[in-house]
């Protein structure tokens, strides 16, 4: 067997033998129990998340939303500036032309027939919000992208991004 030695600066460590009090372990166990017990009466560091929520910042950047205008028409016109600004290349879209009977649904003559954001790619920087000339996309300050086991669940289409219609 070959002995591997990196340097000659090896220091021989010496460990003291345990005393009797240390060998019976009981004082150490009791000391630990006392610390545990004291924490029961202290303020909790955690919260019960889904029921309780921490206050969030006003400028928190969470899940995206595609806004509608006052008449309930979608503001997005699929200009592609959000996708261009996106540093993570998370946004893709397909444009379509509005038909005359769809005038109430879409604000401009062009709209996004497909609009997808990959939330796994997204870094929530908010550059899409800044780039949008139509004030259509915003990052909500109170909603986060929920966790999931499937990768497909993180590709958000228009069904989950567009603001729900307000029913008066």
């Amino acid at each position: 067997m070959i002995e591997y030695k990196l340097t000659n600066k090896r220091k021989i460590m010496f460990r003291k033998p345990m005393t009797f009090m240390e060998r019976i372990y009981l004082p150490a166990v009791l000391k630990g129990m006392a610390i545990t017990l004291s924490h029961l009466f202290k303020k909790k560091a955690t919260i019960q998340y889904p029921e309780q929520k921490r206050p969030m910042s006003e400028v928190f950047r969470g899940l995206h939303i595609l806004k509608r205008d006052e008449q309930g028409a979608e503001r997005c016109t699929a200009c592609g500036l959000c996708a261009l600004a996106c540093p993570a290349e998370a946004i893709t879209m397909t444009a379509a032309e509005r038909k005359p009977e769809e005038k109430k649904l879409y604000r401009e003559e062009k709209y996004a027939s497909v609009y997808e954001i990959n939330m796994l790619r997204c870094i929530f920087c908010g550059l899409c919000e800044e780039a949008c000339p139509k004030a259509a996309i915003f990052l909500q300050n109170d909603v986060m992208a929920p966790a999931s086991f499937e990768r497909e669940d993180f590709i958000y289409g228009k069904d989950r991004l567009v603001e729900p219609l307000k029913l008066n």
Binding site: C79, G80, E89, A95, E97, K110, P133, K134
Partner: protein, 322 residues
């Protein structure tokens, strides 16, 4: 060649043959040449309409050292021996140009997010360089309905800046022109008079010569923003034209065919309608390679180049044996 004329533009001198305009001389010099919205070097009689290319002539000629009394349109003014021209160096020119851009934008709608031309629009580039952020115009803008002229071309008259390029292109490239500018002044508009179809061969080139999004390709309408499609030089053997085009690809699909444009944004070789509109299959074309659109074009954005990995990796024999 003893009769070359010496002209100085922004302090740089160049010798050009007689008959050359100031704009052509400036383009030969390179650098900051005057912009042009209506002048098109390959179409006769174009120019003098948009007033964007105004320059100051500080010295008319060697024999006549007086400056010209007003700013002149550089696309129509011919150079003279010893002429001294101020383009970017004259604050007067820049102020006039800013004013012209403001006038061009008076009736131009702010629908770049919808317009298919956005990203390769001359007016967009021009207003980015010379325009102001806001508008002072409060009156009603001109409004027109969009018209389908023929099966391939759509006319958005609201976006038109009345440069007349398409009229000259149709006059000089196609068999007979069926569209023109109707009416005068504020109400003038590009029209076919009675919903006539533009279906003459080579008429598709009016899309390429249009500096704004007034004439757009119907087969490309809302297909993709230009900066998400990738331009490739492509060619095919065509009996009618050179067949030298740019194929705009999205994935493996050709979504648009346009003519190749030079550094001044002018078409090198006009292409026929068949090449432009009817061959959208990858098998119809020979792809030569990616086209360089220039560093400052938005079309070049987000097109990262792959790192070149040499296939022959140098492996040391010593490591292999161990």
């Amino acid at each position: 060649m003893e009769n070359l004329l010496k002209v100085t533009i922004d302090g740089k001198s160049i010798e050009v043959p007689p008959g050359t305009t100031i704009l052509q001389a400036a383009r030969q010099l390179g650098g900051n040449y005057p912009p042009a919205m209506c002048y098109y070097s390959s179409l006769k009689d174009t120019g003098g309409k948009c007033r964007v290319c105004l320059v100051k002539v500080a010295q008319t000629s060697e024999t006549n050292p007086r400056p010209m009394p007003k700013l002149v349109a550089s696309c129509l003014t011919r150079v003279e021996q010893g002429m001294v021209v101020e383009n970017q160096s004259s604050p007067e020119v820049l102020e006039a140009r800013n004013g012209v851009v403001e006038f061009l934008l008076i009736n131009h709608p702010l629908d770049c997010p919808v317009c298919d031309q956005a990203g390769e629009c001359d007016l967009q580039n021009l207003s980015y360089e010379h325009g102001t952020e806001g508008t002072r115009y409060e009156e009603q803008r001109r409004e027109f309905n969009k018209i389908d002229i023929g099966p391939y071309v759509q006319l958005h008259m609201t976006r038109c800046i009345l440069c007349y390029r398409c009229v000259y292109a149709a006059e000089q490239l196609t068999d007979s022109r069926v569209h023109g500018v109707l009416n005068r002044g504020d109400v003038s508009e590009i029209s076919t008079y009675i919903q006539n179809a533009i279906d003459k061969d080579f008429s598709g080139n009016i899309i390429d010569v249009c500096p704004v999004g007034a004439l757009t390709d119907k087969t490309y309408r809302f297909k993709q923003r230009v900066w998400f499609s990738k331009p490739f030089n492509a060619h095919r053997s065509c009996a009618k034209c050179s067949g030298q085009t740019i194929a705009w690809m999205k994935g493996d699909a050709i979504i648009r065919i346009t003519a190749r444009k030079n550094a001044f944004g002018e078409v090198e070789d006009f292409i026929c309608n068949e090449c432009r509109f009817e061959h959208k299959q990858l098998s119809d074309w020979t792809i030569e390679g990616p086209r360089d659109m220039g560093e400052d074009s938005v079309i070049s954005a987000n097109k990262y180049e792959l790192p070149v990995i040499s296939p022959a990796v140098n492996v040391d024999a010593k490591f292999v044996s161990e």
